[in-house]
Amino acid sequence: MIRTSVEVWIEEPLRRFVDDASVSLALLLHPSGQVLAQYGFTRAMDIMSACALAAAIHVSAAELGKQLEGKPFSGLHHAGKVRQIFLADARTASGAYIFLTVFDERSSLGLVRLYFDEFRANLAKAAPLPSEAPEPMLNENFERELNKNLAVLFGRA
């Protein structure tokens, strides 16, 4: 089992979420698209792609929510034939993050939402104070790739 957390304080809340909700994949990222923790991915390229797309989808959904309801949508669910995704934001003292998870018939949207609420609360509890939180360090190529994806999504390419 491969599990990577860039910051130690994320490890325990993420482990609990994955165990409780029985999800296949999980990803916590900075809104810029920088990965902070992951579960279930086996290739760095997949993580980079998922982060870039998740950040872009989150921005798109937030903007759509602002236009429709005057405030950003905070969660998104998409059901495929076999697998489903759930994307939502998690706010802590050290900043806002985006959480993406993929699940199949072993779990359900109800369980994922239930345990995501707990994960969000545990993350907020574990998060360091803003002064202790390290600044995200973006890889130049990664940022360029993410900007390219965002540009395509928003029609600027």
Binding site: S108, L109, G110, L111, L114
Partner: protein, 115 residues
């Protein structure tokens, strides 16, 4: 606001000792309609009960026992009852002192009405 499930849920909640009754999507574990007493967390119960019922069905099938009908979970201070199928699960949360026989009959009747 009433739904097609409201009469069924009202009939179940009228039973003595029933704290909550819910119609839940079996696949998603999301509440479709519910009748809850104060203090009951409907979405939490719905997600976990639907998951439990789905796993009970799979366990019964794996053991070669065929389809699952009525499921009852006895806890320290109450009972959780569930009945359903591929699409919908009917869930009742009741006190330990509740007459589970009457609840069972009412749930079987409700399941027939919903089928």
């Amino acid at each position: 606001m009433s739904s097609p499930f409201t009469p069924v849920l009202d009939a179940l909640t009228r039973q003595r000792g029933v704290r909550a009754s819910l119609v839940v999507s079996a696949a998603d574990g999301i509440t479709i309609d519910s009748n809850l007493q104060i203090g009951q967390d409907g979405s939490r119960v719905a997600a976990l009960a639907a998951s439990l019922y789905r796993k009970a069905r799979k366990s019964a099938a794996a053991a070669g026992l065929g389809g699952t009908g009525f499921m009852q979970l006895e806890a320290e201070t109450g009972r959780l009852c569930a009945i359903g199928g591929e699409e919908i699960v009917l869930v009742v949360v009741a006190d330990r002192s509740a007459n589970v026989g009457l609840i069972r009959v009412e749930m079987l009747r409700a399941a027939e009405a919903l089928a």
